[in-house]
């Protein structure tokens, strides 16, 4: 078992207890592994999870690839920005918000800044339509966005 895995051994054992078999715990185990590894899943981690849960590596790969919140083999920046681009946010200018963020961070959607501080992604409806346009950074929501608000938030998060 790799170092990262041994670190979260107990946590994994605890979730395994909640499920009838290994396979069904795959999402929880993926989440724990990703968190333990600083936000992304490595090839080795996927392989180890497969061995642990008695699954085929490609099945674990497929489970992880189905959900946008797992990142496979792509390290994320320290802060992960998710901009909602679904209908309510789009009607209120999500496209513009995305373009603005791309300019401010000098990256394209899907990329990470050179200093590894920010990763920019888009998301489908994050369930906050009433305060559209909105984005999520790490675990927090930022709502009713405007350009100046974005400047403030980014500065606070350490954008130089």
């Amino acid at each position: 078992m790799s170092e990262i895995f041994s670190k979260v051994k107990n946590e994994i054992a605890a979730v395994l207890d909640k499920y009838p078999n290994g396979r069904s715990a795959v999402m929880d185990v993926l989440r724990i592994a990703q968190e333990a590894n600083g936000g992304h899943l490595t090839k080795e981690a996927l392989g180890e999870i497969a061995a642990l849960l008695d699954m085929r590596p490609v099945e674990v790969n497929a489970a992880a690839a189905f959900y946008t919140m797992y990142r496979i083999q792509k390290p994320a920046g320290r802060h992960h920005i998710w901009v909602c681009r679904n209908i309510s946010c789009s009607l209120l200018g999500a496209e513009h918000i995305i373009a603005y963020l791309e300019r401010a961070l000098r990256i394209k959607t899907g990329e990470t800044t050179a200093d590894d501080k920010f990763t920019l992604s888009t998301a489908e409806c994050l369930g906050s339509c009433g305060t559209a346009p909105m984005m999520q950074i790490d675990d927090d929501y930022y709502e009713n966005l405007t350009e100046s608000k974005i400047d403030e938030i980014l500065a606070e998060k350490g954008l130089k």
Binding site: L46, R56, V58, E59, N61, A62, A65, F66, I72
Partner: protein, 839 residues
Amino acid sequence: MVTVKINGKEITVADNTLILEAARDAGCEVPTFCYQADLMGLGSCRMCLVEIEGQKKLQPSCITPVLHGMSILTDSSTVTAARAGVLEFLLANHAMDCPVCDKAGECELQDMVYKYGPAKGAHAETKFKFHEKDYVLSPVIIKNSNRCVQCTKCVRVCREVVGVGVLGSVGRGDHQEETSFLKGLLDCDQDGNCIEVCPVGCFMRLPYRYKARQWDLKSADTVCPYCATGCRMVIEERDGVVVRARAQHGVGVNSETLCSRGRFGFDFIGNAERLTTPLVRKDGVLVPSTWEEAVAVIKENLSAFEGSRIGGVASPRLTNEELYLFQKLFREVLGSPNVDSSARWDSSGVEAFIKAAGMNEGGVSVFDCMDSDAVFIIGSQVSEENPVTDYIIRRISSGRRMNLVIASPRAMKLDSSAQTVVRHNPATEGALLKAIILTLNENKLSVSAGINAIKETKLTDCVASSGVSLEVIKRIADGLKNAESISILVGTEFLRFPEGIDGLDLLKDVCRKSLGKKLRILPLLDRCNQRGAWEMGVHPGFGTGYRAIAGRGMGTHAMLEAATRRGLDAMYVAGVDIASMYPDAGHAREALSALKFLVVQDMFLTDTTRLADVVLPSSAFAEKDGAFTNQEGRVQTIARLKNPPGKAKRDGDIIRAIGQSFERSFGPDNASLVFDEIRREAEMYKEVSLVFNNKRNIDNKLDNKEALVKASSALARGFSAWNGGAPSSEETGDYPFTLMTGNHLFHSGALSSNSASLSGLLRAAVVEISNEDADEMGVKSGSLVRVKGMTHESDMKVIVRRGSKKGVAFIAENFADTPVNRFFSRGRSGARVSITRLG
């Protein structure tokens, strides 16, 4: 039964029939992508939508069963519009690169769009691309995901039929890609079934890449030349070069599946090393010659010897017609009783095996076997020796309740389908079977002679020597007792170690006579026409159709013994590389060198041809007509696709030419006349139908029973049983491993080592050991080790197999650089070895 209306026509079908199948039965066409008869239903592509009167939404016919009174429309305007819509969406992101796609011309998407598609798509978005360039998944598989229709047949066949499961659907929606783990290289069986089921040009054969258009190919219906599963396949050539082998859905026992050897191993045919001219030894050197000269030299030399001092060995890969002529040449022209068809197995063991397996009772269909309550596989590494038999067993056993037991020292892929997996010690099949019989006998079976024969045998001894716990043996015995019908699938381990055969013979009697079970025995053989070779009479103990013969001749083993003692003058070897297959390389070489005259007929220069006085260039299966008899006793024809290279001749023509140099009338003249003679000579073949049944038949889908050989009553004298004793107990101290051999998934015998594709999958021999031993030795797959036996040692890489028996090592037969037979002594395909880690 339920009655439904399809497009107004009434039809009665079995309960739970899918609408799709009912419609097809009624002769109505329904297009599909994701449906495949032998795979789990999915209903994802929506190509098969039909209208059911009274229901507003269209229903996928491939997963909806018929209900009584349904009225179904398969080509209403709503259905037609829906199909066009589905195709429009499939094309939305499709690469549309037909001009450079290997599949063009035989692509289901092309055909479907041509027939049902919209004239124009309404999508204006830029197409999503998975990747720019096609990517290689293995030495034989290349992938282009931009053409995918996401039917997931590749994923399902790999998991459900092949049992490997290295493919998955990765991603979601239109970004879903059917591929390997992180798109990496596949460590898998390399059978290419994913290629065969793919309706479009996503999974493609790498060796066939850009080689031809489907309409450029000339094809022939044939049978795979490797193992005796007898897979039907089509081989195709362009400009005289065979470029592809493929299977067809619903044809042959294999339907659309083949293994790596069948699908990729045909390229030995076009190998530049093929022999193209006869060679005659002059002043110690083999020099090119003419057929006239070669045959004259053979005639002159063979005439000088007494028949009984001439021996013949013919390959179990020749056709029935050729093998029949071969034994006829020996018995009727040369006056020699010495014929055999294997360099590996002792002929008396073969005889005992045929008797125990009841092969003279006629053909046994694998599908009938899989209909039994209990299926017991023993003495076979079926997943590797007979891969498609493994697929058939996996597929059928997953769909019905049965008690599947697998007994083998080595772990295998099929273990995961079994209820009970047994790991006995190598070469102890007999002890294991006797332990089972003694357990069955606990509550006193009605006495049969056989039981008496082993009543002195102690259960505890059998248990100890087999290395299997009493509890497991009880479980197997109970399983047999509780089953009404039993099938035993027995493999080549019984031929390598014939001392196990009497156990099998006895179990057969006990099951049938004492327990009153319906019992079938299916031999699992590793050469395409091994059964045919025996049934044609290429054996020193019996004639064509297992008929009794006057005097017993020598088998390969005895011929080699005799040769070293100067008791045999000449041999004629057709297609067998005795020097590299006989268990004990040194002895074989010495014996062949001691002969006064050696004729070898082969496609390639082998260790055996190098020792010959005359070498005759022969032909591949693709170059001849004839029939093979598979392990079930199914007689299937092969058709000629091309001519042999250079001056090479068909094996049958060579045998005939030699025969005619002695007797002008030797024949018959062509394969079909020879087969007529076989029908007359062998009762089993009298009524066999050679008609190629190209359709699924209704009773038992792929099971063409007309092709099975019938029971023979010719066995008047009976077969002699195995008379060799058990091996002397071997010293184990310095040599802790038992070395076993057999076929590798990618290699079996002389053909595969001449296939570039198969050699690309595995070039050199490896030694396989269990994970327990590997952990103890601190080695991993890929580590270098030294394998040391009493007579030979060799360095090679290790492969770790999880779940194999501790203390068992395996090296596959026939790797030129590491001939495993150098470890063996005198006819025994097993040895004690030590394995030490290097570096």
